[in-house]
Symmetry: C2
Subunit: 222 residues, 2 copies
C-alpha cells in the first residue's frame, strides 16, 4: 500500500544480492568469491551484505531454494504427457538449460557442501524426487510401448542417466577444459543421454526421438 507503483520499483537489495551471486558463482566457484567481492558487485558495503545474510551459507541456501523450484517445474513438465513429438525431443534440452542456469551447483557441489553442509540432505531429497519422476516417465513410456526394458534395466538406466546428466558440466570442464559451455556442448550432453535409452526404444519410441530405426538392433515390443 505504501509502495508507489508508478516509479520503477528498484529490486530490493536482498534480490540484487542473490542475482549477483548467481552470476558470480557461475563464473567462478562460490569458494573463490569473497563476501567483499559480492558486496562490490552489488554496489553495497560489506556490512550491509551481512545485514541481509549474516552467514555466507545463507546466500547459498536461498539460491538453492530458487534452483529447487526450477528443478521441480522441469521434472514435472514431462509428466503432462502429450503425443506431440516435439515435447519428447525438447524436454531434455529444457533439463539441460536449467542445469546451465545453475551450473555452479553441479560444477562445485563439493565446495558448496563444504560451505553449506545444510544443503546436503536437501540435495539428496531433490535427487530422490528427480529420480522418482524419471521412473514414472519411463514407466509410462514402457506402458505406451515406446520402451522395452525389464525393471532391473530401468533401475540401471535411471542411475546411469542421472549420473551422466548431473556430471556432464563437470565432465566437460575436467576432461576437455571447457570453461564456457556452449549450447552445442549442452546438446551433446543431451545426445549422450539419448544414447543410453536408445537400445531400449521400440520403433515407435525411436520415432519420438527422431531416430532412424535400425532393424537389427531394434527392441521388440512385448
Amino acid at each position: 500500500m505504501h509502495q508507489d507503483l508508478g516509479s520503477a520499483p528498484r529490486p530490493n537489495t536482498r534480490m540484487r544480492i542473490l542475482a549477483a551471486c548467481r552470476e558470480l558463482f557461475n563464473e567462478r566457484s562460490p569458494a573463490d568469491v569473497t563476501t567483499a567481492q559480492i558486496a562490490a558487485a552489488v554496489g553495497i558495503n560489506e556490512g550491509n551484505l551481512y545485514y541481509h545474510f549474516n552467514r555466507k551459507e545463507q546466500i547459498l541456501e536461498a539460491l538453492f531454494g530458487e534452483f529447487e523450484r526450477g528443478l521441480r517445474e522441469v521434472a514435472a513438465a514431462d509428466l503432462t504427457q502429450s503425443d506431440d513429438p516435439a515435447r519428447y525431443s525438447g524436454y531434455l534440452s529444457g533439463w539441460f538449460s536449467l542445469m546451465w542456469e545453475w551450473r555452479f551447483f553441479y560444477r562445485d557441489s563439493a565446495l558448496i557442501f563444504r560451505l553449506a553442509p545444510s544443503l546436503r540432505p536437501k540435495v539428496q531429497a531433490l535427487s530422490d524426487h528427480g529420480q522418482e519422476q524419471i521412473r514414472r516417465v519411463l514407466g509410462n513410456r514402457r506402458k505406451a510401448g515406446l520402451l522395452r526394458a525389464t525393471d532391473e534395466e530401468i533401475d540401471q538406466l535411471i542411475v546411469n542417466a542421472w549420473i551422466v546428466s548431473t556430471y556432464w558440466i563437470d565432465y566437460l570442464r575436467s576432461r576437455h577444459g571447457v570453461a564456457d559451455i556452449t549450447r552445442e556442448q549442452l546438446n551433446w550432453g543431451a545426445s549422450q543421454i539419448v544414447s543410453l535409452f536408445r537400445p531400449y526404444l521400440t520403433a515407435a519410441g525411436l520415432e519420438m526421438f527422431d531416430i532412424k530405426p535400425d532393424p537389427d538392433t531394434l527392441a521388440q515390443p512385448d
Copy 2:
C-alpha cells in the same frame, strides 16, 4: 653402503608424509586437512613438513604421480588380451579398486584443482590416455565378435562409461550420503558399467561377462 640393512629401515620422512596424506585425504578432503594436522599425523613438526614440501600443492603433485603410475598400469592390464573369462569380469573391479585407493582424487577434484591448479592439465592428459585405452579395448572386442556397435555408438559408450565410473564415488556420496564405501557398492558401480555395454554385446560377449543371453534383445554378430 652406509645403511645398516640389518636394522628395520624406517621409511624416510618424505614417504611417511605422502602415506599419511593419502590416508588423511581419503578420510576428508585435502582442503579440510591442515598442514598442522598432517605434521601431527606423521609425528613431526610443521616446520619440518615445510622442509620436505614447501607448498601444500607439492604434496598433491607427488601423490598424483603415484596415482598416475597405478592408473596406467590398470589401463594397460586389459590390453594383454587373453581368453580367460575371469580377466574380463575381473579387470573392471581392478579399475574400481584403484579408484577406491585414490578416492579423494575422484571425490574432491574441484577442491584439488583449487589447491593445485598445476594438476588440471595432467588430469586431462591422463583422461585422454585412459579413453584411448578403452577405445582400443573395445575395438579389439568388436573385431573378436564380442561386441557389435557402430563407431558412433562406441564413441558414446566410451564417454558414458567414463563419466559413470569417474563420478561413481561422488554419486554414492551426494545421492546416498555414503561416506565409507563398501566393496559391495564398488561392485554396484562396476555392474552399472556392465549395463552400459550389455545391449551391445553378442552372445559370446555376454558369456565373457557371465550374463545370461536374452534372445530377444541380443546384438546380432555382423
